[in-house]
Symmetry: D2
Subunit: 133 residues, 4 copies
């Protein structure tokens, strides 16, 4: 069964814009926070991945905005692993507030070394990510 | 013939992350800057749109990352109108550095009033946007 | 006795820079988050202040950086009211990680109306802020 | 005679907040952009400093906000060297729009190596910075 992780975020004033709502470029930052929490909950935070020489370079993101969030609201980012491969991992996200869906999104990541070149996931990491599907 | 607009951006230190490259959430901000320049070049800046009660709410964004940018580099955002309708406008983007393509992207916008409800583009604005196709 | 409020913040990847540490412009954003929590804890969140037509425009900030923070660390922002007047309120901050002091700071705010003009704090708000000293 | 450098910045929508003005945490980012331009104009960009193992860690910032900036405005950041020492360099800033002063600021930097430890400026760099006073 798919493992999901819910991250609660209090909207910062700096995250709003002159329309009075959260600026759309803030959501990828929240997705990353959710993804980071998901990995930690699965047993190995992303800081440890990096320490082992495994980077997850963002290769694609896609977001659909359904409703706005506002200053001081508590929003929830639900994150999960959508696809897991040796070279590519895809995460899914649903961002909501009080049960109202604000944003649906997806991010595609390529496995890389600290030198910026493609590499493959070590077996233990692949098993970890696959087990979350 | 499609009107394009090139916006030059000097990469800020604050835009880089611990991988030593520009953080992926910065690109939507640059796309907005490019889109804003494109509208100004077409004859009516977005600030004037807002003053006339026409908002372009971001409804979708999609970015594909091909190569990273680094601190102090000069990157170029090319922007153009991809689709123009009374209720929806789509912009395309190509971000590059010295001819190397870094990011390809697209943003979908819904026409809204200051009350946050959908509305349609006034004729003059629709003509303006359509003429750029 | 001075009321203090501690806000825990998980460092976001987007908040780091190419030096591998949290960018210095992120701390004012964290201070605002701490100040916002402090007001909520004192009984009236800043969103309610705004709803009553009272803005706290930032007039001055001062930060001293002692040690850096890094991705994924848990930092704590301690906030308190340093000075309370009818026209001006000063907040103090200490940001730390595991007892290590990272940043000491202060922000000065002028009371303003939604029209951007100076005004004075209503009595009830002044009493609230003064009681926290 | 003090060398000054003027950097023009077009205000981004993402830089505004729900008060309809530029968020106060954006100004340190602009100051850094100005400082970076000043160093480049003086003959050696900060990227080259880093390449030579010399970091300028921010040790203190202080900003006084006098008037707000808004979306799409062109603001100008004037930067200059205020104090130059072997271990510490201080920069001054004045941010304005159409001759109206928005922000006055200062940043204090400590010279560091890539290992994060204090070091002293090489003679050539010290001469460069001192000549700008």
């Amino acid at each position: 069964m798919t493992i999901t992780c819910d991250t609660l975020i209090r909207v910062r004033y700096a995250e709003t814009d002159a329309m009075g709502i959260v600026h759309h470029a803030v959501y990828p930052v929240w997705m990353e926070l959710g993804r980071s929490d998901l990995l930690r909950q699965m047993g190995q935070g992303y800081a440890e991945w990096e320490a082992q020489g495994v980077m997850m370079a963002v290769s694609q993101i896609q977001l659909t905005y359904r409703a706005p969030a506002r200053y001081d609201e508590l929003v929830s980012v639900r994150s999960w692993v959508k696809e897991a491969g040796r070279r590519k991992v895809v995460f899914g996200y649903e961002i909501s507030r009080d049960g109202v869906r604000l944003v649906e999104a997806e991010s595609v990541h390529l496995v890389m070394g600290p030198d910026g070149r493609n590499r493959t996931l070590p077996d233990a990491m692949l098993a970890l990510v696959t087990s979350a599907l």
